[in-house]
Symmetry: none
DNA sequence: AATGAATGAGGGTTCATTCAT
DNA sequence: AATGAATGAACCCTCATTCAT
């Protein structure tokens, strides 16, 4: 990965996240990355290839993010870490996460599969803690996580820490 | 509102909801509505005007939808109706609601103000029922509602009724 | 000629004169005349027909304007009146005359034939006054008149009366 | 300035001069220049940018044309050269000069400032030759020049050399 | 690897004109 | 006579992509 390749990816990430995939022209990306437009196509084939490269990087980050939770053996900590996930994301990564959300709507890229390991870990955790309907608990928790992430990234004035604490209390964690 | 105007709005709603605003060309809308492309501009000025016309209709529907909840005096029923909201939406209205979600991401049209009356009604309801932190309860519930709507409209395999019942039980409703 | 027909002609004259024929849309003319766009085509067939109607009216005005000069028997007065022609045009007729000039360039409508009677009268006048080359004198004078009209209608800061007097003196008139 | 850029400019000059700015589509320019339409916008930004590029070149030619006159120290020669200006223009430059005239009417681009140096030189010349009203003499002469240029470029049958000679004689030059 | 000129398809929009009422 | 909805061609312009260098 050359330096210019990085610059293109960075510029694309920013612009796709801020303006959306379709609303961002490759020419804008090139200008933003201080690179000739042709170079984008040399390195990534086409506009979708550029997106895919960003998505692949996303895949990796998801794995890193989830790994910490999935590896956790204490069931309470699994749930706690899941709930605290949103409040942990670094402000410098906002563009990255925003893009993930955006794409789900703009290109109907689901990204649901990525959640499977987390679902399993959570399901297992709720079972161990003798919750009545572990499956529904998982679903409910993930809906909350999704809603919270969505709110935060859209710039809602919500206080993430406060509501995170509030939910933890509900689960006695 | 002439017959062709309706057809344009309907076609635009469908396409904007399915493909997104930027990815849908006015020419596609025209073809879908079996109408000349120029007519779109005669009636709605420009592409954004067309979108606005759909949004205005949306505004109306939001008010109708919320009115029923906001008018409710029994606090338990306010919360119940809010939780059941998603499961009530008619399949034939999916495009409409999908578009609302999509636009929040594609054009960063927040639509947060529209929620204010609902927030108030819920806050009031939680207070009456002696919940400790009514404000946080509202926030939490709305995050869940948002997440659920998002999941359903994105075609998740989630069972809306089941999870709705599950949540009602959590609130002892 | 109905009242609406007049209004269309008036609006078209103004707009064609100010913005040019090609830059003025029939829709703009209709709006300016407070009339439906279709009416223009009912009355004048097409956009060029509308222009022609204005031009026909122009033809008439040219004849009226020149008649006074051509009928003059005193040779000195023929020349004097020609020179004074520009300073006589009423400010309310500026649009009309401006359009004539504009069309000569935009549509290459010459309007040269219209000048023939004037040329003859001038030629005759210069002959009677024993000018050496009446033909050239006519040509020169008309070039000047054309230049002066052009300058005035383009909004030059030239003082028409002053220069008119100056020229009259050159011809000892 | 690449070869294709030149071809675009040349084609635009011809077409704008012949048909007018508004009546010439960028697509026509592209075809005439045997070039893709998009290239016009890559190089000149938009249609007006294309026009401006032509106008800038015009600016240059004006300076060259006037320089010769303005540098002249002999007052008689200043006037003589001014009068002879029109007869000097090369037939191959007709499109260029025609466009200058056309634009004055179509877009109301005055170009009056460009004449200032010439006005000064002429005013000075008439003063030195003890003309009574140098200012008016200048105005008169320029009106004539404008009228003559206009006539010639519109394809009048006027004999430029003959009338030029005639005027020179009037000034005893 | 990198540029920037060049392309052609398609973008949103305006146009003159027609037609039913 | 008059309207205004409706059309389709053409408008200027932007797009993703290719190519020669």
């Amino acid at each position: 990965m050359t330096e210019k390749q990085e610059k293109i990816l960075q510029a694309a990430l920013e612009l796709f996240a801020q303006e959306g995939f379709h609303a961002t022209s490759t020419s804008k990306v090139a200008k933003h990355a201080c690179v000739s437009e042709g170079l984008i196509f040399r390195h990534f084939g086409n506009k979708e290839g550029l997106l895919q490269a960003i998505l692949d990087e996303g895949e990796r980050r998801f794995r890193v993010l989830f790994a910490d939770i999935v590896m956790e053996t204490n069931p309470g900590r699994v749930i706690r870490k899941t709930i605290e996930m949103t409040s942990q994301i670094d402000a410098s990564d906002y563009d990255f996460w925003k893009l993930q959300y955006k794409l789900k709507w703009e290109l109907e890229v689901s990204g649901d599969e990525k959640m499977e390991p987390l679902k399993l870990a959570l399901s297992n955790a709720f079972s161990k803690l003798d919750f009545e309907s572990p499956g529904l608990e998982v679903a409910l928790l993930l809906l909350f996580i999704d809603g919270l992430g969505s709110a935060v990234l859209k710039g809602s004035s919500i206080d993430v820490n406060e509501i995170t604490q509030f939910l933890l209390k509900k689960y006695n964690l």
